[in-house]
Symmetry: C2
Subunit: 287 residues, 2 copies
């Protein structure tokens, strides 16, 4: 019987911290604010936006939406980002990706000022994660994984962390963040041989393969902590993770459920990044 | 009896490629040129500079030295870099580090234009390595490790690569480059438990621990390829690597010696980066 690492418990404690920070900001007449740039009307984007807005409202963080049509020109997108870079009242910017294919994503995303890059999409945020230095922000999902470990007091030092997946949104940044926390990291992917053996050797497993139920009982053993980043829809039409939860739960020591694990934490991390950006700006202006 | 992976063989083939590229450049009236910025008179810097210059001369690549006094101001260093950024005839810039402690290294290094960052010191080069995209250059030592594997036809796909060390100059970039080559990567460091077991599980070992003879026979097994990045001086005053060569050589399948392995390749990689930068500039101007 594993300990279930509940996203809502992490979120509750994270939200308390955010509320304290928002209070501090308001005492200094600063209203933290998120700018949201959405191009087109993709259902996934709209669903995430709705959750982000709800979380902002709950935590007294302002937001403003900048909605652009699917066939928007590169110039207009870049103008919009530059406007938000300059806007004194906007502290963080969320841009939904992937962008429509007629747009130069590399150029557009890197127009965003690193200090407002609250979802870690710019080259400078990536350099910050790679080098382990304070510059920009990690992608919210990657930060959510680390926050869950921290919340439940799981020390990473000297632990063997195996990350399944090497995406820029989860696998690579989580690997670098776990390395910074002194874990020994192993990154597995589709070309990995003996993936069962690799995952079984882990103390901490981060499953970000993007494949429903990819991690099964034969990958797992007693003593492991499993963070399931997968969000998939199974044959019955239900949300499920990259880990076969029913197989894993009797074996491992602790596991995040899907839904109810990493996903919900991500939205609060986004808001935390906005609030942290506002605090950094406030402190810089006080100097 | 291991195959000895000789740096000079890699360098010979690399130099041939460089000479071909230089020929192409000269047919287009382009003379590739390296700018070297050295602050102070550190012996290590001077030794590396001498080797770099020799390699440039051998390969018909021009160079120019910009020597600044140990107590130079930040303003002058930044002015120098900006001048080289703008200089049409300079294609790559080498800046010796660490800089004297009164200088803001982060600010100064990131003044360098990414397209001239032939030793991978800027944030944008780091982002390129992390994301696996074509932007800037990897640190020359990291590139040298990969080049040795390539030269000797060692396919990394699905192999287990264990990197000992997590520096920004070797451990981290080599890890990302091996991941891009579809290896399963494990990064070990001073906080790693069971380092013997971790290294023994590797197909490819990259030793960048910075500690003489750190990797011994008990870390090794038959079938392994060992790249030794260490440059240390042992008790007898001789150059030696991070691997106890005499213990390793009878066990593993292939190994780079120290001296005679990675070190010599690094200088040719530097020149190659300069030549590649010149080619990229030439191609861009033809468009």
């Amino acid at each position: 019987m594993a300990q279930i690492l509940l996203g809502k418990e992490v979120t509750a404690s994270l939200n308390e911290e955010i509320e304290e920070k928002v209070k501090t900001l308001k005492e200094h007449q600063v209203m933290p604010k998120l700018g949201i740039i959405r191009i087109g009307e993709k259902q996934d984007d709209i669903a995430y936006e709705r959750n982000a807005i709800k979380r902002c409202e709950k935590l007294s963080v302002a937001y403003e939406k900048f909605l652009l049509p699917e066939d928007v020109t590169e110039e207009i997108v870049i103008d919009t980002i530059q406007k938000l870079n300059k806007a004194e009242d906007i502290h963080g910017v969320l841009i939904f990706r992937p962008l429509p294919s007629h747009l130069d994503e590399e150029k557009i995303l890197n127009t965003l000022a690193v200090e407002k890059d609250v979802d870690g999409i710019t080259n400078l945020s990536m350099a910050g994660i790679f080098a382990g230095k304070e510059m920009g922000y990690a992608p919210c999902t990657a930060s959510a994984c680390i926050r869950i470990l921290d919340h439940y007091g799981i020390d990473c030092t000297g632990k063997k962390a195996v990350i399944v997946g090497r995406s820029l949104v989860v696998g690579k940044p989580v690997s670098m963040m776990l390395l910074k926390k002194n874990a020994t990291i192993t990154v597995c992917h589709t070309k990995t041989k003996n993936i069962k053996q690799e995952v079984q050797a882990a103390d901490i497993v981060v499953a970000a393969a993007g494949s429903a139920g990819f991690i099964k009982k034969e990958h797992l053993r007693t003593g492991q902590v499993v963070i399931d980043v997968g969000i998939n829809v199974n044959e019955e039409g239900n949300l499920c993770g990259d880990v076969a939860f029913d197989e894993a739960e009797p074996i491992v020591d602790a596991i995040t459920p899907v839904p109810g694990g990493v996903g919900g934490v991500t939205t609060s991390i986004l808001v935390e990044h906005v609030v942290n950006a506002a605090l950094l700006k406030m402190k810089a202006s006080e100097k």
